[in-house]
Amino acid sequence: MIYKVSRIVSLVIFSVLIIIPSLIVVFGSTKTDSEVYNKPLALPEKWSLDNFRFLFEVSNVGRSFLNSLIVTGFSVTITLILASMCAFAISRMITVTGRVLFSLFAVGLAIPGQVNLVPIFILFNDLQLTNKLSGLVLINIVTTLPISVFILTAFFKELPKEMYEVSEVDGATPLRIYRSIALPLSRPAMGATAIFLFVITWNELLFPLLLITDNDKRTLPLSLLSFRGEFFSNYSMIFTAVMVASIPMVVMYLLMQRSFIAGLTAGAVKG
């Protein structure tokens, strides 16, 4: 009895705590600012997309959206290629090299790349990689490599050894085995990793903040942060910007809940 009541009460409280803020944002993005302040939870008086139109007119949020897409796309793809090759190599090497390689990334997992913000800032300035999307792609790859290598190594290690041995007898090179056997088999693991990487890269703030000063090179989280300064506390505009930044994720989440949950969980468990 006590169990049942406390179960229902706590589930309802947490649901409300998630639903109410979400509704405030969704409704708020179609309201005028005074409406947001006076009746944050009420349905909008009239549904309008004026805020979105205004936001795209006065700010370069469209540009930021595109930048985020470019940076995330390249970061995730390149990380996946590098990490899967590396993980494949590690899983096949029982030698010292494999272990060294693995512990190299283990350090990166225990001490996240974010602690390097000072030297990265200096190094990227020296290499003139600041204010460049390619610079962001590079640093994203570096910070997400360890976790990706971990997830994929765990997966490759589970593949039956016989698969490889047969093709080795046939004289296939490691690269060949990787391309025609390991990769096709690893599609689910790659998919999970891709989603995990997509979410953290799309949402990343620290390094863009550190490396980008040019308005045209901003990614979405950075633009969102600057709107807080520009629109001060004009929450209808801020909520509109939150909507623009979140819609791609939310749509993908609703379409592929299972893979999302699996991907973001794998990231934590294997790490």
Partner: protein, 280 residues
């Protein structure tokens, strides 16, 4: 084949890591040449920097509270939602949802929720006649860090819950059946079956939450930038400010080294504590 990844990682993780050690021995504003000062930054930081100790305290408190509550709540919700019924799956999807948002979005949403005049939190308390709870949550030194702690827990509890559910579903059902036959209450079942069987999952959840809380830069930067009066400042934000507001590269590098030391120390302590539980 592992070479490309290893080279990139060595070049942009380990090389900067070493460079950071070098910077920590200098005084440097990036305008003039760096000046070698030996261990003066380290001595200064340890003996003459109240802000450092304040931030250290904040960071440890923040991490401790986030780990405690996030682990606790995610375990409780996992127990409540472990059965694969339709409602449970829908609720899991809902609880997991905040995880996919960006920290900046979450920060903006909760800035409004905590707004002293218009925010839903204070609106709720005043409606209930509890004006005493209607605080300036993010604007006052005594509550800012806790308000952010709550947001961080709200943000990631669902993610950890899913990990726990996966762990709980591995527990053999016979153990519960046997416990029930012996007339064990729900609490006893939790104490003697669920909790000991889920310790491996707890280790994973706590380790991940710890790292996550040390990396809460985005959320804190979006919500308070460490204010008011550094009451919600944590290491990552402090280091950023030392680089950009104070232009003290050498000192920021020294702060980073202490950041790493604390992070490693906390991780080791936690592993030791949990492993001793595990072996019992």
């Amino acid at each position: 084949m592992g070479l490309p990844a290893a080279i990139i990682f060595a070049g942009f993780y380990f090389v900067p890591f070493i460079a950071n050690l070098r910077y920590s021995l200098t005084r440097w504003d990036r305008i003039t040449e760096p000046e070698f000062v030996g261990f003066r930054n380290f001595i200064n930081l340890l003996t003459n920097d109240d802000l450092f100790y304040k931030v250290l305290g904040n960071n440890l408190r923040f991490t401790f509270l986030v780990v405690l509550f996030q682990t606790l709540f995610s375990l409780i919700f996992a127990i409540f939602l472990v059965k694969n019924s339709r409602t449970n799956i829908a609720l899991r999807t809902l609880f997991f949802f905040p995880t996919i948002l960006s920290s900046v979005s979450v920060g903006m949403i909760w800035l409004f929720m905590y707004d002293p005049n218009f925010g839903a939190i204070n609106l709720f308390f005043t409606r209930l006649g509890l004006e005493g709870f209607a605080l300036n949550w993010l604007g006052s030194e005594s509550s800012a860090l806790y308000a952010i702690t709550f947001t961080q827990v709200w943000f990631h509890t669902g993610q950890m819950m899913v990990i726990y559910i996966a762990g709980l579903q591995q527990i053999p059902q016979e153990l519960y059946e046997a416990a029930e036959m012996d007339g064990a209450s729900r609490w006893q079942q939790f104490r003697n079956v669920t909790w000991p069987m889920s310790i491996p999952t707890t280790i994973v959840v706590m380790a991940y939450t710890t790292i996550q809380s040390f990396r809460a830069f985005d959320l804190i930067f979006a919500m308070t930038q460490g204010g008011p009066n550094n009451s919600s400042n944590i290491f990552a934000v402090l280091i950023y400010q030392t680089v950009f507001s104070e232009l003290r590269i050498g000192y920021a590098a020294t702060q980073s080294i202490f950041f790493i030391i604390v992070l490693v120390f906390v991780t080791i302590l936690q592993r030791k504590f949990l492993n001793s539980r595990y072996e019992k």
